[in-house]
């Protein structure tokens, strides 16, 4: 029985990976086109602090070996990328890939941590509501969760900063210094807490999980199981829990990444979001392309995970 599940999964996986490659190619083209059409020249950042003379800018292009045409530029980038070289940042001159790996870890901690937190809050509420109907307790919890989800994440972030500084009189919110303070671990938890609570995922997660689980619990096969006296949870787990959870997780990854940009700015968190912000200001196209691809791959990976779980649970899905 276990073996039967592997084949459809591998088939789905192969197809999805091929699609992923195409998708990333498309993303790189669209992002490049936007960068190319947007006003401003990425090389201007190097000329800052001097009078902007065109001769100088032209000479610089030659000096740096930048192709003149847009397709030349894209081809040059693409060729290098196939060899695993994402180029060097125009602003700092540092290679993009190691830099992305460095800050990516911080962003991954932030997004996955906040996702875990959201699940930790959403799952008990949703399961309780599905199993017992709307009790006073879970209704109240749901309302609170909805309100928190409606709060803008940047606002919530600043409120938390304010509370920490003025009420608790502590300043865990800058890196480096935090390590020397008594409650340094808070520095890592506070942004995760903020993103997990206020990114807007919480309410949707509760609703989705509750509805799916209620629907499954009302299905004939569950009723049969219940009638036979078998464990309802074991039968309902795959369809009523595992699938909705992975579905909502994969659907919410892009929103979390967007929220991370803001939270990183507020908390001085040295992640990909801040790097993206700086790169966008500078038109630092190798960095922007790199971040766009990593973010796209991350989102795609979430979808893929969901597909794999779905197929593994329900082998019929691969034949559709």
């Amino acid at each position: 029985m276990k073996f039967a599940a592997v084949k459809p999964v591998s088939r789905v996986l192969a197809r999805e990976l091929a699609l992923t490659a195409l998708l990333l190619l498309g993303v790189s083209m669209v992002v490049f086109a936007i960068l190319y059409l947007a006003p401003g020249d990425p090389l201007n950042v190097l000329l800052e602090g001097q009078s902007p003379r065109s001769e100088l800018a032209l000479g610089m292009r030659e000096a740096l070996g930048v192709p003149r045409t847009w397709y030349g530029q894209y081809a040059a980038w693409f060729g290098k990328m196939l060899h695993g070289n994402f180029g060097n940042s125009i602003r700092t001159g540092l290679p993009v890939l190691p830099e992305l790996a460095r800050v990516g870890v911080y962003t991954l901690t932030l997004t996955l941590g906040s996702l875990a937190l959201t699940l930790l809050i959403a799952v008990p509420i949703a399961v309780h509501a599905a199993a017992h109907g709307g009790t006073a307790g879970n209704t109240a919890a749901t309302i609170v969760a909805y309100v928190l989800s409606a709060v803008p994440v940047f606002w919530f972030g600043y409120i938390v900063v304010y509370v920490f500084i003025h009420q608790f009189g502590m300043f865990p919110l800058i890196s480096g210094t935090a390590a020397k303070q008594e409650h340094a671990w808070l520095y890592f938890l506070v942004p995760i807490f903020v993103l997990g609570i206020a990114s807007g995922t919480l309410s949707e997660m509760i609703r989705h999980l509750r509805e799916e689980l209620s629907r499954v619990l009302a299905e004939d096969y569950i009723r049969t199981a219940r009638a036979k006296g078998a464990a309802v949870w074991r039968h309902a787990f795959k369809e009523g829990f595992l699938i909705p959870v992975t579905e909502i997780m994969s659907a919410k990854i892009p929103f979390l990444l967007g929220g991370a940009v803001i939270v990183e700015q507020v908390f001085n968190w040295p992640g990909m979001g801040r790097m993206a912000w700086q790169a966008a200001q500078d038109r630092d196209f190798p960095v922007i392309m790199g971040i766009a691809l990593v973010a796209a791959a991350f989102v795609r990976f979430g979808n893929l995970l969901q597909r794999v779980v779905f197929t593994a649970v329900n082998p019929r899905a691969s034949r559709e």
Partner: protein, 538 residues
Amino acid sequence: MKRILTIAVLGLGATMALCFPAHAAPKGDGRPDGGVLNYSEYGRPATLDPITSNETISLRITELVFNGLVGIDEKQEIVPELAERWEASKDGRVFTFFLRKDVKWHPREGDAPQPFTADDVVFTYNIMMHPRTITPLKVRYEFIEKVEKTGDYTVVITLKRPILNALAKFSFKIIPGHGPANPQYLTREDRFAHSPIGTGPYMLQTVTGDGEVVLVSNPDYFKGRAHIDKFVARPFADQNIMAQALMFNAIDMIVLVNPRNLPEVQGDKRFVLQPYNALSYSFFGYNVRNPLLADRRVRQAITTAVNRQEMLDSFFNGQGTVISGPFAPGSWAYNLDVKPLPFGPERARALLTEAGFKPGADGIMEKDGKKLVFSLKVPIEKESEAVKRVVLAFQNYLKGAGIAITVDFKEWQAWKEDVFLEHNFDIMFASWVFDDSADISSLFHSAEIGDWRNNFGGYSNPEVDGLIVESKLTLDHEKRRTINRKLHAILAEEQPYTFLWTLTNYSAYHRKLRRVQIHPYKFFSFADEWFIPASEQK
């Protein structure tokens, strides 16, 4: 207003000295060594070498790590640094520098420190001028014909033509020949740009993953070991949080306090607020290609209709000075006898009437069916709240004078293209920042009209052109001063810009730091003298 255009300006009134004696001695001033100084920066440095870097964050760090042939002291006088003395030829074209023999480069890990020699000076000049090196320094040193080594510790620099205050320009930072991986030219990709070694009072120790730059005192510094053990530059993404960090002793110094946070810091006894004079000013610039703005009276009317002091007081807590002309008030060229045009709405109306304008049905002044409606292009900057207020106030004042302004906020790069290339604007808002070299000729000389040239407004006046050329050619400092004062008076009358103000910059630091002197542009020039009393080193 944070990111600005920098142009070169005339050197600060420095006197030329022949055979200046060097003061090479260990510190031994009885002041304690030790302690750490954490200071905040609004953003991260892109590179840390003095050649490829072009922003103030890097400039401050290179000031700690490197030295020039000559330096400039607290009194703005030229003092020996890597050169212990020098000689200038009679015609002012040939300078011979005799270098110190006791200077060592910071050691690279595992290596012995290498001595500084004439080769390094020649190397620095060559790498700076190489066509593939992109550096703002290149334009500034085009006046040099050649740099030659005539002995291990002697360098001869020949100029293309004699220039005033040439000596002050030899303060550019020298980098080691064995530093960059590529000895031909320097790019930002070179490891030297990220882990440089210099001769200065501080050595780069590490750059952490969070972008903190850690510098430690150089025990072999030729002017004697700097007192404070360690300087740490911490990047911040938010200026309010930066001020909070100071309040919570997480940092000891903010190099530039956001005007909004000034009252908070001011009220706290633990900190010193030190003003320093920025060589910069803000202005509204006019495109005189627009026939309406070509009339001087219209430009004067605009300036008169705007209450500059009120804007300065309400948007910048009054932290600055209203100016009258094209130089920064901190510069010797500024003419204090010329007063800013006073605020006078009636006078503005009178000027417009004199120019033949009459109020139209909608209250907008018009002449021959042409209405005084102008587009104002403003670049969007990070933290541009104050800029927005200035622009809206400007619009409001002019509405009262019968002039309509349509404000167009543009992304920085797009704004530059509109103003400098397309000249597609009537009025623009910006700031100039001056360093301590060169001149304002590129702003108002008619030869500087064109694509990507600094005379973006197309201002042309034969008298101004003449004075600019005369000022450039003279080698007499007093004469040049007189010419510049005249230039100032003419441009104050002509109003090719509405000159606004110079803001006072404030640095805030903890009282434990002593003997703090700040260079207005390079900031850390005198930091090797700063110290922290032993009792407060923690």
